[in-house]
Amino acid sequence: MTGYESVSLITHTYYYRMNLLSFEFAAFFAALVLIYWLLPHKARKWVLLAASIAFYLCSGPKYIAYIAAATLVSYFCAIGCHRTNSSFAAVSKELKKTLSPEEFKARQKKSHRRASLFVGLALGTDLGILAVVKYLDFILQNSWSLIDPSFPGLKLIMPLGLSYFTFAAVGYVIDVSRSKYEPERDFAKFALYMTYFPQMLQGPIPRFDFMGTQFDSEKKFEWQSFSDGLRLILWGAFKMLVIANSVAPLSDIVKNFGTSSSSMTTIGGAQIWLSMIAWGVNLYTSFSGGIDIAEGVSECLGIRMAENFRRPYFATDLTDYWNRWHISLSEWLKDYVFYPLALSKRFSRFSKFLKTKFGKFIAKTVPVGLLSLLLFTLVGIWHGANWGEILFGVFNGVIILISTLLEPVFVKIRKPLKMDSLFIWRLFRSLRTFVIITLTRVVSHSASVSYAWKFYLAMFTYPGLDIFGEWAKNEAAAGTTFIKYLPAVIGIAALFCVSLIEEKSESHSLRAILADKPVLRIALEILCLVSIVVFGSYGIGFVQSSFIYSNY
């Protein structure tokens, strides 16, 4: 395999992808930065668009058809929707005077229906592409295979950044239909919003009102901002190369058990716990590290992207965790799924019915709790078209629903004991949340759901006290020593310290803390760089385990 081939988790088909941690990308980025800052402001948007399209073409020229279709349809439909709404608004005062209330309502309804047609066409196209490419195979595998067990599936290949550009398009069209902002007339700017290359691999999911203005604003090269971007890239690379890839073999114990990739025949509870904790570290450091690199690259171009992580493993409960993990996805689902449903008339009627029958508490918690369950099922579906991911979402939703319903009981216990102010209680809550999220991930990380049930059973009933078990014997036989994991352990300790400092500080940012400490900052940068060069894990293993969220 060369530097930028990777394996699609969905289709098991090889395809090209430019990795943000490859020499090819470094050359691409250096050339782009030079051209971008040397050219005048007006040309920069075009440079970025050309670079984004070139980046996308590296993932396979034919896949550009999907993103092109989503971009074109969303662009024109948003304009169509806005024109319909504004032409009715322009005459509505006059119509109110001349028409009867019934006639006015009929005209208003007609206008709404026309605007909805544009929105429906855009959402149908955007979500239709997502549904067909990402989920049709899963649906057919689960239905058609009942009739024909030899059905091989469609094996469709996922275009790069499918979920990200779909959600970007859907959010934009809905915002325009809600008159949150006017549609973008400049097609190049809109196309750049859809294709902007740093967000293509792992997000964050962009919002037009946040990104669009930045593409337009006149920027001057500032060393401070540029060097901050480089530092973020360095930090992301440290997370990915020193930590994520080093712990990947441990996290793969559960993932590969029972498949042809693993030669293990037995596994104990302690090994499963160890592997799942390693998976928690791997997932966080590779995903947030990838986001750091993407955000750093973007910052070097003078464009800030939305925050996607806020130290999720310090969360005190599962709701708090989801407010800190993949923030752009949680916020997107809140704005475009949760609140529109929660504020609908039907939902309001349901709440009122529960209030009259069962009282205030049930009316407040049950409907919103059920919506949360739906939301987390969607989170699971978003993560992947397989039962493991869907169950992962459902587990999270059910736990949140139950904890919400039991909250008054918990409050009654906590209040007299004044537990909320105790450090030990805060620590316990964070550890508890980490354990819960680790447990919910077993089902999505195992090779199959049937294996997951066995793992759950073993985690609580069969400790298998030889913590490294058969895996360690295989590693030892292959000549691997545990010294190999020492850099990862030191890396995790460093990441924990940085996260703790950020969590405790007022600014919540290491960048702000080190702003007036240049000597310390340079020392840390050198340490980070040396660690990557000396301890970073490269090679085939790196390519396969990196950018975990790039297949969504």
């Binding site: 809140k334 929660a342 709440s351």
Partner: protein
């Protein structure tokens, strides 16, 4: 109007000082459960329709901000 809004808020979540608090959303004193219930109650009490676009922290950070939102929607 302000007193009525404070009453509604106290009924939903009695733990906050609604007369003086100006960071109900920013300081996470109201969660999504509270917000959904609050919107329903405000819609009914003042015969308005609060939409998703109105759900920004500036409109819900204090009882006074909510009163301003209600007034704006009533005048529309």
């Amino acid at each position: 109007m302000l007193e009525q809004i404070i009453e509604i808020l106290k009924d939903i979540n009695p733990d906050n000082d609604y007369e003086n608090e100006t960071g109900l959303i920013d300081n996470k004193l109201l969660d999504s459960f509270d917000i959904v219930t609050l919107v329903g109650e405000l819609n009914d009490a003042f015969d308005i329709t609060i939409t998703v676009v109105d759900l920004v922290p500036e409109n819900f950070n204090s009882a006074a901000a909510m009163a301003a939102l209600v007034e704006k929607l009533q005048n529309q």
